[in-house]
């Protein structure tokens, strides 16, 4: 008996070692070809998995279409993906795997700002070009370009930009002065509120209460009741898309719906979200990098293409990743090479026509992009305009 147990034990051990050893041997098998090796770091599991799934599909769609059209000067884009789980530690591991294992030259990632911040030093060490497409924390580009990290770029507007636009619109167009804060407890949610606080006095607004919910929180009744009794005119929410329907439904329950709108960001505008609690979302104001209803030929084309491919409408993250892969393609084309340094220099000088306007990068490697402002009216998102704001870099 003891013998069999041990034999089984040794087999298990041996297989475990083979597994552990496998990556070491795998590398040599990958021959260098002239393809564009692109890594996508995104949260494929965990509470942000929805974002990761859309991100990857957007990027894959772009690569597929570029490759179908013959690639960039004949070079095909090869997409490798790795799961960050939305946590910095896993994100760093995923990044290292893409760099060391899959030998990628270019990286796009992550959605979560905390992960992107952790990835920056890693790509800097490795000399791999990172184009972030979906993190909004301003610090990412404070530290990039002339700020330090030469290999980090961002093709996404920042929280600072967004906070200013939302505050301005709420105060000037809607006449709100009393706000309650209910944001996600992450660097995205917290920093957006930080910047809101910076700009709110300019519009004579004040914050009556401030609450942050954890990713995965489902019970908002207590805090919503408190907000109802505080007399706030609007709830500033920088939240997660998946939480919005829960908050909206519970707003209906405690009697906030139709009286106090949500303003901020958190996919208020998708059909499904609105359907979950139409009354609560009526009048909601959102600032997003993009939305499916954005009226430009390129944008409409993307929505049609994505829907045809995946039988589901794209979200913001799908768009930004799709657009960023295309942007990278243009940079490779301009550099006439897949050499990382040359592509980086081309990217810094690029003028790219995106679906929301022309993209150029400033000396902090931050794309100058507008934020699109929309309001839910009669159960439909209505675009109220696209606003850009200059970033006030700390000196």
């Amino acid at each position: 008996m003891a013998n069999t147990v041990h034999r089984r034990a040794f087999c298990l051990l041996a297989s475990a070692f083979c597994l552990a050893g496998a990556p070491a041997f795998e590398t040599s098998a990958l021959a260098q070809d002239s393809s564009i090796r692109l890594g996508i770091v995104a949260p494929m599991s965990g509470p942000n998995a929805r974002y990761g799934a859309f991100s990857l599909r957007g990027a894959q769609l772009a690569a597929k279409d570029i490759n179908a059209a013959g690639g960039i000067d004949g070079r095909k884009i090869q997409v490798f993906s790795a799961d960050s789980q939305g946590t910095p530690v896993e994100g760093v591991s995923a990044t290292r795997r893409l760099i060391d294992q899959d030998k990628v030259d270019f990286l796009i990632g992550d959605v979560s700002s905390s992960v992107t911040l952790a990835m920056q030093p890693v790509v800097e060490d490795a000399g791999v070009l990172l184009i972030n497409a979906a993190s909004s924390n301003p610090k990412i580009t404070y530290a990039a370009g002339v700020g330090g990290f030469k290999w980090s770029f961002r093709n996404y507007p920042t929280d600072e930009n967004r906070a200013l636009i939302v505050a301005q619109y709420a105060a000037e167009k809607r006449g709100f002065t009393k706000f309650a804060v209910l944001s996600v407890d992450s660097d995205y949610g917290r920093s957006a509120i930080e910047f809101t606080k910076k700009y709110l006095p300019r519009f004579k607004g004040q914050i009556l209460s401030e609450d942050y919910y954890k990713e995965g929180e489902v019970d908002f009744r207590s805090v919503l009741a408190k907000i109802r009794d505080s007399g706030a005119q609007a709830i500033i929410m920088y939240g997660l898309a998946d939480t919005t329907p829960i908050v909206a439904r519970q707003m209906t329950e405690v009697g906030l719906a139709g009286k106090v709108p949500l303003i901020g960001n958190g996919e208020f505008n998708t059909e499904k979200t609105i359907k979950s609690a139409p009354k609560a979302l009526e009048g909601a104001v959102e600032a997003a990098a993009w939305l499916p209803g954005w009226d430009s030929p390129k944008s409409k084309g993307f929505v049609a293409r994505f829907t045809a491919e995946y039988r589901e409408a794209p979200n913001n993250h799908a768009y930004v990743h799709w657009e960023t892969v295309n942007l990278l393609g243009k940079a490779v084309e301009a550099a006439k090479s897949t050499d990382r340094a040359k592509v980086r220099d081309a990217l810094a000088k690029i003028k790219y026509d995106s679906a929301v306007g022309e993209v150029t990068f400033d000396d902090h490697n931050q794309a100058k992009l507008p934020m699109i402002l929309l309001q839910i009216e009669d159960g439909k998102p209505v675009v109220k305009g696209a606003y850009s704001a200059d970033i006030d870099y700390p000196r």
Binding site: R50, E217, V218, A241, D242, I246, E253
Partner: protein, 290 residues
């Protein structure tokens, strides 16, 4: 002000009822197995997913979906009970910790593999608000409270009068003696396990309409909420667990309102630690089981 507090207390009772339904299974399993089930929240998740699949893929009405969710959970629990939990009888505490952590990983990630990691939208349920004494509540929440009370009443009857209940009590008192008097300890463990898991599943299905979103990681949060409850309730003590769950629900609700939502998830463990400083064996005696 008084109205506000009473409204928060009602909110707390609703939350407490959900916790109670999950925690009671966990505490019963602890009673017969002497092992903390770190996977217990996952059955809550499995139940919710069962109901979600019934509604989404088979277009079944919500009441049928409740049954489907509970049956799905019971089935999963039966498989796990037969293959894993049975073997945990008499195993050291470490083995229980590792095994249930393993099960939690398997269940959670299998569901993510099958249905994707994103949040699902749960349709169905009775979400229209009704007003009782000025407090506005979704009908579903009243249903949750009613079911929780019924379940606890039923459990009291079960453990006091039924054969299985008596066997459960016996096993939780003394495993060695059970073997002597001819109680099949393993069978009792598996049955208790399935019952406990099914209650967690029921709780998940009932809560889904008000929580709206369904996702693979939802069970983990519930596990963390129930752990302090079962300790405070006096491990294995059903009645104690019910009151501990209510206390925690109300405490969380008050903290979320008057301190800040971000401190809500800390309430459970903070309370637990304070309670343990004061009474190292929990609020309710572990002796008075069931």
């Amino acid at each position: 002000m008084l109205f506000q507090i009473s409204e928060q207390i009602v909110n707390g009772i609703v939350t407490g009822a959900v916790y109670a339904l999950v925690a009671v299974g966990m505490t019963m399993i602890f009673g017969v197995l002497r092992a903390i089930n770190f996977a217990h929240g996952e059955y809550y998740m499995v139940g919710t997913f069962g109901a979600w699949v019934a509604i989404e893929y088979f277009d079944l009405p919500y009441p049928v979906a409740i049954v489907a969710g509970v049956i799905a959970t019971a089935f999963v629990a039966l498989v796990i009970g037969q293959f894993v939990m049975r073997r945990m009888v008499g195993a050291p505490a470490e083995a229980g910790v590792l095994a249930t952590l393993g099960i939690a990983l398997i269940l959670q990630n299998s569901v993510i593999l099958l249905f994707g990691g994103g949040y699902k939208f749960f349709e169905g349920g009775y979400i229209e608000p009704v007003t009782i004494l000025g407090v506005s509540l979704a009908e579903q929440r009243l249903l949750i409270i009613a079911v929780a009370v019924l379940v606890f009443f039923g459990l009291e009857l079960l453990v006091t009068y039924s054969r299985m209940g008596k066997a459960m009590r016996a096993v939780s008192q003394n495993v060695e003696c059970c073997a002597v008097v001819g109680i099949d300890v393993r069978k009792v463990v598996v049955r208790t396990f399935v019952l406990g898991a099914a209650l967690a599943g029921l709780s998940g299905v009932l809560t889904a309409p008000v929580n709206v979103s369904v996702y693979g990681g939802m069970g983990e949060l519930i596990t963390f909420k129930t752990l302090p409850i079962i300790i405070m309730g006096g491990l294995g003590n059903v009645r104690g667990t019910f009151f501990a769950a209510m206390i925690l629900g109300i405490a969380e609700s008050l903290v979320a309102t008057y301190v800040g939502l971000q401190f809500r998830d800390t309430v459970g463990f903070a309370t637990l630690m304070l309670v343990l400083m004061w009474r190292p064996h929990g609020l309710f005696s572990a002796q008075a089981r069931y």
